[in-house]
Symmetry: C2
Subunit: 470 residues, 2 copies
């Protein structure tokens, strides 16, 4: 019996897609990679997923786990050989349980992130993982890539939000690790090894996640800043003054917001003309566990001195939920505005917060000198030391010219990040897109340790081959 | 050249202890295990530690990493063969650097935990890991065992407090993973694999740790409670009302505190006689990022309704730092009082918080019925679902009788914990003392995965053999 027939026997013909039916699953979100697959299979539950993995293992067929397909690095896209079986997790989308006394929720990997947030909210709790793609990304993909987003500052990334996992091993066994425990020191940390391994060590089918109390009040402010140094000073002031109530601290260059308001004229900055023109903006969010009045007082106690100290040129405090959403919308549409503006060179970097401002000043200067016409479009999560250090290419460059420039610029930026002890992939992972970068910047010892773990857990090398490790 | 001579050549004779000089390093803190060693070596720095590991690897000599030797499970004590080399980390005790803008501190493994706390404090920051042994345990041991303690509720365990590690591999190479990054998704999570692996995968020589703002005010209260259900209700009220300002929530049975005040008559409870007599006490700590006045208001806003709802029978709010320290001292001396009271049967268990009260009620009842005269002495970190479910044996039992009873009781308790999805070692690890338990309760698949990782990273099996894995 062929593998496809065996898969149909297992999951049913309706859930084994081939030919044109499979096509929508074979291109990554950024449309940089299109692969081919023997089939796209949609298991119903963990047991069926395990059976599918066993069939693939018997046939030595490569497996590509796939969630909502919103990744930036083509980690869920098969290669061009047509030998791979894509396991799409969309049918494993049950909320298995919520325990409000234990503050945990257990969900299947195919749940859309927003559905997890909503289920928590309905139980009077917060699930804080929050990112642009939340309406379509799956929690399983968030875990496979250790997703970050805008609330990491306070709540940590996907890894820190996870207590337990259920994983299908490359041998098709199920590891029942769905523990709802805050403390468990019984052996090696398999959980955190699977999280962030991008489907190369196993297939995550479910997770038990931490919940938090819902804040009683939120405050959002947009601040106009003279420069990134001022943003760092403001961050330190806000960390000291708000403590754990500081749940968001995003920065955006003025060029980013000019682009947004240019591409989407219905969006507007809440400021009049300023001299000097601000070079950066910060978006600051406070989540208060007491009351609206307390949130207001507290917000003012930090923002007023920041204005007096000239850390901020101007401050706009959102006066309603709608205005707060509008401020966040400015931040969240930068990516769309960039997509509309032409070919974009992207970096997802992190550095110690203490080094970030200098890094940006110096790297900006080098790039502007070497590549006239380049338009820097930098934004990101300053509180986590994580910037999307992006730029629009100079107009008029042909496709090949642009590709050559892109690769030279990425090497320049990543070399500088590496020299400063930073990361060349802060939150997006490696996938297939950054495999060469990983080989370039990781120490041979760390690559060897990773390779030995891969070999130990997936000796046939069938789990998402070509991703993360070469 | 013999291995001892080679070690002397590397570290100097003064730092290679044998015979009587080695003796103090060969018995564990609880005096349950005494081993023998070829030598105890004290490297000066990571490079020398790596050289020592290489020498041991060449000679196929087992290596036992050792910190402050305060563990509960004899994880840093060699076996009886006399073949092992103990690597004691006391000379690697430098604070390598503090970065207040990045909120990180980099320390060597042999730093005493309290020294790390103090270095952070001097820089105006909090390093929150806090536990009874903090005056003598080493941060390297805290990381090797993923230590918990009293602040996990708010700040997480040792794993969640760590950003980067420096590790000597069993081959004697140094992994330079001292990253001060909040986000870094470049490959497998080696950091969290080493943390909690109890020296069986490598030797941690340094770490970069997270720092936090110092709270502006603290409030501590001791609450008398009718039962453990009331404690759970109070915990939920405090989590909702305090949010991230809730930094401690400990519970102690009345029997525990009676024992403390009996053994240490200078210690006293801050309550008059009560009817009914309280069965439990809770110790609650609020860390406020605003002001003394705000801390006071906030504390009252949660405690007053708790009294009205009869969740608490009485409340004593510490009126000074000294009184707050006295309340914590009651909690912290339980272990000493138990040690003074005779042979003790200990369990370090965790369960989902939602199941804890029922577990204790039912297990208490079974034990009291089966073992008349047993005195239950239960206390722990309710906010983490972690209890030290301990008991004093009935008086008069001979040594052999007691040992038989201890092992039957531990099996009974651990079987029940396991059946409820709990952990048989919440924060103390496995060491050599719980190796059999681990084999009994971990699934064969999880043991196999752990074994494969061990084999991949330490193929000679020289790192802390006999610990964690059999």
């Amino acid at each position: 019996m062929s593998l496809v027939d065996a898969l149909i026997g297992c999951a049913g013909a309706a859930n084994v897609l081939t030919g044109a039916d499979a096509q929508p699953y074979l291109t990554d979100w950024r449309r940089h990679a299109t692969g081919r697959a023997l089939a796209v299979v949609r298991p119903r539950d963990a047991a069926q997923a395990a059976q599918i993995v066993r069939l693939c293992a018997q046939a030595r067929a490569p497996i590509v786990p796939q969630g909502g397909n919103t990744g930036q690095v083509a980690g869920a896209t098969p290669d061009g050989t047509g030998l791979a079986v894509v396991i799409n997790m969309q049918r494993l989308n049950r909320i298995r349980g919520i325990d409000t006394q234990n503050d945990t929720i257990t969900v299947e990997a195919g749940c859309v992130l927003e559905a997890v947030q909503q289920a928590a909210m309905q139980a009077g709790r917060l699930f804080p993982l929050s990112l642009g793609a939340q309406g379509s990304c799956f929690i399983g993909g968030n875990l496979a890539t250790n997703a970050g987003g805008t609330q990491v500052l306070r709540y940590g990334n996907a890894r820190e939000l996870t207590l337990g996992l259920e994983v299908v091993t490359p041998q098709g066994e199920i590891w029942h690790g769905l523990r709802g425990l805050r403390k468990d020191n019984t052996g090696y940390d398999l959980r955190d090894l699977y999280i962030g391994s991008e489907g190369t060590l196993g297939l995550i089918t479910a997770a038990t996640l931490k919940l938090f109390p819902l804040p009683r009040a939120r405050r959002t402010a947009l601040l106009a800043l003279a420069g990134l140094d001022a943003a760092t000073a403001l961050l330190n002031r806000a960390r000291g003054g708000f403590g754990a109530a500081l749940t968001g601290f995003e920065v955006m260059s003025a060029d980013c917001l000019d682009l947004v308001t240019g591409v989407f004229p219905e969006q507007r900055l809440p400021f009049g003309p300023m001299h000097p023109r601000p070079a950066w903006y910060a978006l600051l969010e406070l989540s208060d566990s007491e009351s609206e009045a307390h949130a207001q007082d507290r917000f003012e106690s930090v923002l007023a001195p920041a204005l007096e100290a000239s850390e901020a040129l101007d401050v706009a405090v959102a006066s309603s939920e709608a205005q707060s959403a509008a401020f966040w919308h400015l931040r969240e549409t930068i990516t769309l505005a960039l997509a509309a503006a032409g070919p974009c060179i992207k970096h997802d970097i992190s550095l110690p917060v203490s080094q970030l401002a200098d890094f940006v000043h110096e790297t900006d200067a080098i790039l502007r000198q070497s590549y006239p016409g380049l338009r820097l479009m930098v934004f990101g999560h300053l509180g986590d030391g994580n910037l999307h250090y992006n730029m629009l290419g100079p107009g008029g460059a042909g496709k090949e010219q642009f590709a050559a420039m892109e690769s030279a610029i990425q090497a320049l930026v990543h070399d500088r990040v590496h020299a400063s002890g930073g990361s060349i992939s802060a939150e997006q992972g490696i996938g297939q897109r950054r495999v060469d970068d990983l080989r370039r910047y990781k120490s041979p010892l760390e690559l060897e340790l990773m390779g030995r773990i891969k070999q130990a857990l997936d000796p046939l090398g069938i789990m998402n081959p070509g991703k993360v490790l070469a």
